[in-house]
Every structure is written in structure tokens, then in C-alpha cells.
Symmetry: C2
């Protein structure tokens, strides 16, 4: 077994899963790329069994899809499908914002503010990688602020799934700064603690986000 994959003491299947996720996120495996069990097994120096399990798990997460023909492929969406996914994500984000606004505590408020400060800092320095990370933290913090782990998990799942497509809209430094400003507005609306204001704020934010993502794809 390759040491790189075995580094941690995870079951083989999990290790392979993690490795594949990393490859897909990094764009090494592009959308539409076909994955066959035998080749992967050879690559990881393992048998087909754990590879199969890893593929299965990734398919369950929507990261891979079962091809029309045979075999698994890295998920690839038409513009229509992409807009449908964003519509669903949109709904969930709005619900999260509304619930979070209702249940805001001092602690979660501080955490959101801290995440946003990091976003602004990264945007101003034009540090794309740092911004992407801080952006994740910002949104995840809002999810957790709902106080509902299941909602948070749901929203996080969609975020993972749409990650590659959203990332494309942050090409230039001005994109980062625009996003940070949008965060500011969204944050104000959530901090209003008014459900309608919060959900309308997230609706505006997500609509903007969707149109930018579609433009970049």
C-alpha cells in the first residue's frame, strides 16, 4: 500500500475516498472524467473492494454520478442542472439565515464578525486562497448559528457540491472585494434579528451569487 494514502490509520476505503476528494477539489480530476475501479485499485495499490466502497460514498455525496452507460464519473452539470442545484441551495441558505437571525447569540455573532473580518483582510490583500477559506468559515458559522446541526450539515453538503462552480467566479481581486461587501450587507440583515429582513437579505445575496456563478460557467 502506498504510504501517502496510509499516512493516517484510516480504513483503506476512507483513505482512498479522502484522496479522491482532494483530487477532485483540486481539479486534477475534471468534471466528466470517468473513474474505473481497476485503474484506481492499481493506482492505490489496493484491491477493488475498498475502491468500490470509496466510489460508493462519493456517489452518495453527489460528488460522483453513475454514468448513463457504465461506471462512475466526476459529477458534471448542465447550466440547467446547475441552476436547479443553486435554487435548492438558495432555499436552504435562506432558511438558515432566517433561523440564525432568530437564535443569534453573542458568541455566534462574534464568530461571524471574526470570519467576515478575515474575509475582508484576504480580499484587500488579493489573497484568493485565504479568501476562499475565510468565505467557507463565514458561511459555515452562519449554518452553525441556526443551532440545528442537521440544517448545518445540509447546507454544508450543498456548499461542497457547488464548490468548484462557485470558485470560478472569484477570478479577480475586485471579485473578492465585491463578495466581502456583499457579506457585510448580509451580516447586517442577519444581525437585525428580524426573520424577514434576514431571509430577504440572504435571498438577495444568493441571487447575486447564482447569477455570478452562472456567468462564470
Amino acid at each position: 500500500m502506498t504510504e501517502a494514502v496510509q499516512a493516517q490509520k484510516l480504513p483503506l476505503a476512507r483513505a482512498i475516498e479522502a484522496e479522491l476528494v482532494a483530487d477532485i477539489s483540486a481539479g486534477v480530476l475534471e468534471p466528466g472524467h470517468r473513474l474505473d475501479e481497476v485503474t484506481l485499485a492499481q493506482r492505490f495499490g489496493a484491491s477493488r473492494t475498498p475502491v468500490r466502497e470509496a466510489l460508493l460514498r462519493l456517489a452518495a455525496q453527489g460528488i460522483l454520478v453513475e454514468g448513463e452507460r457504465r461506471g462512475m464519473r466526476v459529477a458534471e452539470y448542465t447550466r440547467e442542472q446547475l441552476s436547479q442545484i443553486f435554487e435548492a441551495m438558495h432555499e436552504i441558505e435562506i432558511a438558515c439565515a432566517r433561523i440564525a437571525a432568530q437564535r443569534l447569540t453573542l458568541l455566534t455573532r462574534i464568530e461571524i464578525e471574526a470570519a467576515q473580518q478575515e474575509c475582508v483582510r484576504a480580499a484587500e490583500q488579493g489573497d484568493r486562497a485565504a479568501f476562499l477559506h475565510a468565505n467557507e468559515v463565514f458561511h459555515q458559522t452562519i449554518y452553525r448559528a441556526t443551532g440545528n446541526p442537521f440544517m448545518a450539515e445540509l447546507a454544508a453538503d450543498f456548499r461542497r457540491r457547488t464548490g468548484p462552480f462557485r470558485a470560478r467566479k472569484f477570478a479577480e481581486k475586485r471579485d473578492l472585494i465585491a463578495a466581502a461587501k456583499a457579506h457585510d450587507r448580509l451580516m447586517r440583515d442577519i444581525f437585525s434579528k428580524d426573520s424577514a429582513t434576514a431571509s430577504n437579505g440572504m435571498m438577495a445575496y444568493m441571487t447575486d451569487s447564482l447569477s455570478k456563478a452562472l456567468a462564470a460557467n
Copy 2:
């Protein structure tokens, strides 16, 4: 291989998955019940491989959870967790109702009405199994009426996940009849094609459903 499972020409793993989902939804396998691969393999007259795959898929859907010790168990939630799951489901159902109301076609309307008629028939005859099935069809049809497969899948996932808990509230014939009446109101609200009416209708429906489910658990 048991004929019941092989009835359709599905891969074994899928057939086993479907059978287990049915058992869990119907409450044959209760929350907390431990499932081991060998026993299931014997039950289905299959080898461990497809059983394993089925369990994996169910775990990914949150229907099963990996036990503290070893092995998979039917997901079991505290009342607090249950209410959180229902809250999330609540949000998604409301969004579905709103979107479905906006995009209602003659065909989907007819399909929803047909499903509801079957619910009423089953409720009046006190046929619990038939009612549970018709109830599923009714809700799934609403999901499909959104025209968004991803939303539909999301909602369906939650339905599968909460199946065992919702099933408990249909103990008596009068529970079935009450549920069928609630469907009627919900259907009217969705058919109004007014977003606010539809989402408020679903909100009332789900709030009622949640309180009944919590009472039964």
C-alpha cells in the same frame, strides 16, 4: 435468492437496499436495531458484498448510523434531535410547496389529486399499509411538481429518514382519516397557485405533523 427481492431486475445490492428501507419505514426494524452483515446476507440468501453495499448507501442517507461500537444501527434520535430534523424537513417541504404552486401543470395537478384519492380510500378502509404507501406517493408527487429534481431528491431523503418516526403516529384508523383531511387542505392551498398561501398551508401541515410525531415518540 428470494423471489420477493429479485422481483424486479435490479442489482442485488439495490434490491436489498429497497427492502431494508421498506422495513425501516414500516417500523419492522426499529430505531436502534443493530444490523450485522452476516445475518442480513443469510436472510436475503446473498453474500456479504451486496449487503455491505446496501448498508453503505443507507448510512450515506442517514437512515443508518455507524454504531458507537461496531456495526450499523437503525438511526435513533433523541427528542431534541428529532425536532431538529423535523425543523429542517419542515423548511424543505415549505420551499417545495411554494415552488410547486408556482409551477403547477395540469398533469402534476391530476397526479396529486389521484394520489390523494388513494389516500382517502385507504384511510376510509382503515388499510394502514396502503395508506402509508399512498401518503408517500402524494408527497413525492408534490416534490416532483417543483420541476427541480435536486429539491425533490432532498425532500425524499428526509422523508426516508423520518419514516419510522412518522409511521408511529398512524396507529388508529382515525389518525389516517385526520391525515387525509389534512392533505385536502394542503392540496387546496397548493392548487391556489399562490406562493404565500401554499407555503403557509405547508407550514400549518408540517407543524401539525411534527407535533403528532413528537407526541408518538
